[in-house]
């Protein structure tokens, strides 16, 4: 990897320049929160944001999307083309870039998902460094750092960005649209100081020792019943999660009943009917079993296949949960012995 230095004020040039060739998206302020949105005025881009309501997964795996158009009479697919315009997404934090890398394992391996792939292939990613928030625990999974999954990454050094250039396209973005200079030893020293300050910014280190094994050893623990009592099965945790990828597939007929679209939309393992089969059997009828499954899959199911936990510690689920359930609490309870201990 090679590095450049870019004056902070130049970001506006970069966004304006890129807007000529790409759709540019990034975090913008909305009410008292931030959301990923199309950037029409470069001044709207807020690289100082804390976190976004929804993770950038919505830009690759939309809440609802058309998979194919069909004709009923002969059961034929009329159109399953995927349309993805070239675009640049600004401002992904390390957790969210890692989130996409975890989604890649699901959607881009074995049976490649053409819808996700088309959007991934047509998108350039500009990452940006962040400041640890109270709800962040990315340091527990080492997702507070990111070494690939972006085209360029901007580390904030106060008046300038330390720019990590990962891809050819990333190098071209810089060359074509913005003035940069080579790094000096002083820049690298400042980069290291900022990294140490970042690490010290986390409120605590979550104990995750032997977590996958504990999930099996404590599978019948009353911890899950207590959490099940509180959980509302609303599925908000899944919707705001940068790594939850479950979906449902639905056919929608046009009014003439002759053609229609097959769509998919975000689903959640917390919903009552998620694991039920046609003959009426529901394999996870109780809330406790569903709350447990979410953690079991994230911390062990996914790990058993891809050697990573399916969580990046962004803290969105904890903020979204009306019952106040957070991964920090659940992991701590498993490591200790009971909720609240």
């Amino acid at each position: 990897m090679f590095f450049r230095i870019m004056d902070k004020s130049r970001v506006l040039d970069l966004v304006a320049g890129l807007s000529q060739d790409f759709e540019v998206l990034g975090p913008v302020s909305k009410g008292d929160a931030f959301v990923y949105q199309r950037i029409d005025d470069p001044a709207d881009l807020r690289l100082d944001y804390d976190t976004t309501l929804l993770p950038p997964k919505k830009l690759f795996f939309p809440p609802e999307e058309q998979m194919m158009r069909f004709r009923v009479a002969d059961n034929e697919v009329v159109d399953d083309e995927v349309y993805a315009a070239p675009r640049v997404i600004f401002g992904l934090h390390p957790c969210d870039i890692n989130g996409l890398l975890l989604m890649d394992n699901v959607f881009l391996r074995d049976y490649v998902d053409p819808y996700y792939k088309a959007r991934r292939d047509s998108t350039l990613i500009v990452g940006v460094s962040c400041t640890p928030q109270e709800s962040c625990f990315c340091n527990a999974w080492n997702t507070d750092e990111v070494h690939w999954g972006f085209d360029i990454f901007l580390t904030d050094l106060g008046d300038r960005y330390f720019v990590s250039v990962r891809s050819v396209k990333g190098a071209e973005l810089l060359d074509d649209h913005v003035e940069t200079r080579p790094i000096t030893d002083a820049d690298t020293a400042e980069f290291q100081r900022v990294a140490r300050e970042f690490e010290a910014g986390f409120s605590d280190e979550l104990n995750t020792s032997q977590l996958p094994l504990l999930l099996d050893a404590k599978f019948e623990s009353p911890i899950w019943d207590e959490l099940g009592e509180r959980c509302l099965s609303c599925g908000a945790c899944s919707m705001v999660c940068p790594t939850c990828y479950c979906f449902d597939v639905i056919d929608r007929l046009e009014p003439d009943q002759k053609t229609g679209v097959r769509i998919r939309k975000w689903d959640s393992c917390q919903f009552t009917e998620f694991a039920s089969v046609a003959h009426g059997q529901n394999f996870r009828e109780s809330r406790a079993s569903r709350v447990k499954y979410r953690y079991y899959h994230k911390q062990w199911g996914y790990l058993s296949k891809f050697e990573r936990v399916l969580c990046v510690g962004c803290g969105r689920c904890a903020r979204a949960c009306l019952a106040g359930i957070s991964p920090r609490e659940v992991v701590t309870a498993l490591e200790a012995g009971g909720v609240g201990e």
């Binding site: 194919m68 990828y245 479950c246 694991a275 079991y296 199911g301």
Partner: protein, 282 residues
Amino acid sequence: MTAYQELQQNPYRPWPARITSIIDLTEQERLFELRIIDDGVREAFEFTSGQFVELSIFGVGEAPISISSAPSKQGFIELCVRNAGDVTGALHRKQCGDVVGIRGPFGRGFPFEEMKGNDVLLVAGGLGIAPLKSLINHIHDDRHDFGKVTILYGAKNPSEILFRYQFDMWKHRDDFDLILTVDDPDESWGDEVGRVTRLFDMIDIEPENTYGAICGPPVMYKYVIEEMRNKAMDVDKIYVSFERRMKCGIGKCGHCGVGHQYACIDGPVFNFWEAMNLQEAI
């Protein structure tokens, strides 16, 4: 691009298949024979017993259905389908010559090659005979490669016994030991009465070279496995097939999670050692 290359492009795209025969098996179950229309896709469609397809009826949706015919039957597949939901209900309203969609085959089936040279004990309950029928017929077509073959099949009552036309014939064959049982017999019933587990007293097996294959309603597994373990069969030679909600069939949608695995790509067939290590499996 050939149709088969297109098929590789989008694993969610179902391929048109024509219904070439429909047989009423019971009041609720019918056997549908399908032929994939595109020559390239049909020739590329190779499967093992225990695998399933996604049956797709546009406007209604998709449902995972295990394949009942043997891989040795070329050009056609058979699906034994109970009228139990939206998609299966829509299939039951179709007629011979109508076109439906097929994706697959998906999942891991029974280890047919590994089973060769051994005895096989197959135990089915109710609709669980559907995937086992594929294995039974495949063994039949390669009969000389197997030792003793025992089939235990139980249903609630005589009218719910599937493939009875074939099994009634097989009862007279000496190369298959077939025992049928029902919970509620009628006057015409001349076979066994009671749960399928009761039949274990009537059979004799050599545990060191016997493979087991089980499919039935979820409650059945525990008791049948217990009987097989009582006969000293090895945990990794007992195979079970699980029914879960395999919606996408390709390990993405998440609906068929069973413990740390997905039934659609890691199963639906697991050996008992694997199943013992799967939470919420049995």
